[in-house]
Subunit: 452 residues, 2 copies
């Protein structure tokens, strides 16, 4: 039984790390055997490459396969590099076809080809089928190992068919129903089947099926499976013929990496391809430098705007004091709007054609926020400096917040309308755009109010 208290997990953790440091293999073997698959996976994801290979090799055979299946594909690739050829071939043959394809994408082409050729015929065919779908499609991530039933089968016949596939199907809890052309005509759950009379037919028990096309994006398919709260979602070809099944655990895996990708983009970086502590520093730099450069080049716009107003600035240096505060608040307002709308888009609460509704709402929200902050800023700045500066700062808050919220709310929708990832155009881009526009507004208001 897994203890859920962190303390005891950490003890096992430390034991393993100590045994690895001392290269004490018997202690390592003993410690590893007390852990669950998930715990070993968590530890492997925090070790360096050499330590990973040592720990992996002491795992008992059955556990080793289970651990391997649950590892990030990038770490699977690393491990394969450290194992003997025959060990790799044996491991490879035992993987599910969909997991195998993910691993193949990580390996050098020559290794991938050799491994594929070593597979038994049936396994090779199933793997090739999946490899035939485009990268990023659900066809690549589905399982071709399903049990389907015909509508004319009786409950008893259907259950016999399930019993015959208990060992090799990815799931037996959701059974797709197909006709003699392999076209998907419905779905029946094992629970409903068990609950029916022996002579009831599948046709009487089945329900209309939700499904996705194999060429659809994996993330969309996974989100549909999660939204519909299905244990498994049938995957079909262009003629609605059943070609595979997406189980909820695979959907969870896909959504997890999609969320990581979105969050990385919101933070202005490329997603990492492997767990943080196993990513080399150079990999972290690579994932960030391009975005940082692009944003910095974009930000030179602010330098140019300020150059235009250099004369105004040298006349009233006090104006320079508020620049970070004003553009910071603009950036924050824009990011709040963008994050809210990006999330609403991801959840399907908002669609691209809601653009004008969203614009109107964000305009109102921005105006309200600007009026609140502007009034406060006017009061404080009038007291500390003078009424004229107070008026400039107050009016700028109102205008910048309104502009920032509207722009921030529109950006994700525009991005998704041109079929780009809404998260890409999000926070850092909005900050840069809002910075430059905010400065223009600020100095325009300052010139008008101060009469310079």
């Amino acid at each position: 039984m897994t203890d859920s208290r962190t303390s005891s997990i950490e003890t096992e953790d430390r034991e393993i790390l100590r045994a690895l440091d001392d290269l004490d293999l018997p202690a390592l073997t003993a410690a590893a055997q007390r852990l669950s698959t998930a715990q070993i996976v968590a530890i492997l994801e925090r070790l360096d490459r050499k330590q990973q290979a040592v720990l992996y090799r002491v795992l008992p055979k059955g556990l080793a396969l289970e651990v391997f299946e649950n590892l990030d594909p990038s770490l699977q690739g690393d491990l394969v590099g450290g194992l003997k050829d025959d060990a790799v071939a044996a491991l490879f043959a035992q993987l599910n076809p969909d997991d195998r394809v993910e691993l193949l994408d990580e390996l050098p082409a020559s290794v991938a080809r050799r491994l594929l050729q070593g597979l038994p015929l049936r396994e090779r065919e199933m793997t090739a089928d999946i490899l035939g779908y485009p990268q990023g499609s659900i066809g690549r991530r589905m399982s071709p190992e399903f049990v389907s039933v015909r509508p004319e089968l009786t409950q008893q016949q259907a259950l016999e068919r399930v019993a015959a596939h208990l060992d090799d199907a990815e799931t037996v809890y959701t059974l797709p129903v197909t006709d003699n052309q392999r076209v998907l005509v419905g779905v029946v759950s094992l629970r409903e089947l068990l609950n029916a009379a022996p002579d009831a037919t599948v046709a009487e028990l089945m329900k209309p099926a939700h499904w996705v096309r194999a060429t659809e994006a994996a993330e969309l398919a996974a989100r549909r499976c999660a939204d519909l709260k299905l244990l498994a979602l049938p995957v079909v070809d262009n003629e609605t013929r059943l070609v595979g099944i997406l189980t909820v655990d695979d959907a969870l895996r896909i959504l997890e990496s999609a969320e990581s990708e979105d969050q990385a983009r919101i933070g202005g970086a490329e997603p990492l391809r492997r767990p943080y502590l196993t990513t080399p520093v150079s990999g972290l730099v690579r994932s960030r430098v391009v975005w940082l450069l692009v944003l910095a080049v974009g930000a030179t716009l602010t330098v140019q705007v300020l150059e235009v107003f250099e004369a105004t600035l040298s006349e009233v240096v006090t104006l320079a004091l508020f620049v970070p505060l004003l553009i910071g608040t603009g950036g924050n307002t824009g990011n709040q709007a963008a994050t809210t709308v990006t999330r609403a888009l991801a959840l399907g609460d908002v669609r691209p054609r809601d653009l004008f509704r969203v614009l109107l709402r964000e305009f109102k929200v921005g105006l309200a926020l600007g009026l609140i902050l502007g009034a406060l800023a006017f009061l404080v700045t009038s007291l500390v400096y003078d009424r004229e500066i107070g008026t400039v700062i107050g009016l700028t808050f109102v205008s910048v917040c309104t502009m920032a919220a509207t722009v921030g709310g529109a950006m994700p929708l525009l991005a998704s309308a041109v079929r780009a990832d809404p998260a890409v155009f999000s926070n850092p881009f909005i900050s840069t755009f809002v910075d430059a526009t905010g400065l223009l507004i600020y100095f325009a208001i300052a010139r008008a109010v101060l009469g310079i």
Copy 2:
């Protein structure tokens, strides 16, 4: 069969909207019946309160219950307000105990009490059990309707027990095994049970169980269920007695709202309690204004820093031109680091005690990024302005990037070490902190290099 092409979904959508506008009830009823539960839920989440009530009332009875179960609790609360008392009581009695508790939290206390008293005894007891757990704990979100089996049962006896509960259990695919004290001793899957001989005992078939305590945070429990790729996770009390079960679909729902919360926090806003388009503008303002004010007050620090250097600024106004560029880049670098580490924490790839490893890595990454950007900035600024300004800007880039990445990487870990939500202390806070510190660094370097 649900068509997955967006076009046809949008046609149905438009038909429903048109029928609602015209109050054409027969057309509305016809259009609604062609849609799946998930589609109706998606439409309801985009309507105003009155339209929601109209659409909901035309749904056939079975569909109406299913739709209600899948609605956001905030929308359930709205709908209940618009229905007749007896309709509400009937609906309420048909809900699962965990869904019922979520709805109760949304309703005014008097309505909640009246509804609870109207329940049949057994249902009321189950609901009260769940209500006894603290808000935010998994005890509140688990289902008390499970089928457990004893270890001494044979396969045949266990299957009979499953058959008897096919109608009322939340899931029959994962069966917790308990002893005569109701203590959880293992778990057996229906698949393994079906695959065994009739006289095999549950004790021979069961595996060690993963579990969570009912008082643990719902998000942690849901993430464990998802990480372990389990269809259901048993929930126990302090004596490891089985009290409920968390199914993967409920775990998905919990994770979805947790992700929304994290993303809202990263964007510097409070999470919305209902879908975007059904949140009133005043609700959007409320979710953002406090954070915006806190951040703006924090940002007045930059005004104070700049005031200290006002003399330097009026001597070399050119320095003011680079302020937004420099603090913007600092903020971006800090946010990249914070987002990466926050995500790694959420996935369990990094733990609070990895603080020093993370600090060292982020220091190196920041230094590398700073050297790249600083070298470019030096070249460009030297050409456009002069070598002295170029030196100031180049050196500031190196220092600010290093500082920002280190601070950005540390913040989420420090937050989680003091048991705060890592996302709270994240991007907007880091920007504000990095802005003020960056300005200090900038003017210190400028004074040293320019000799003022």
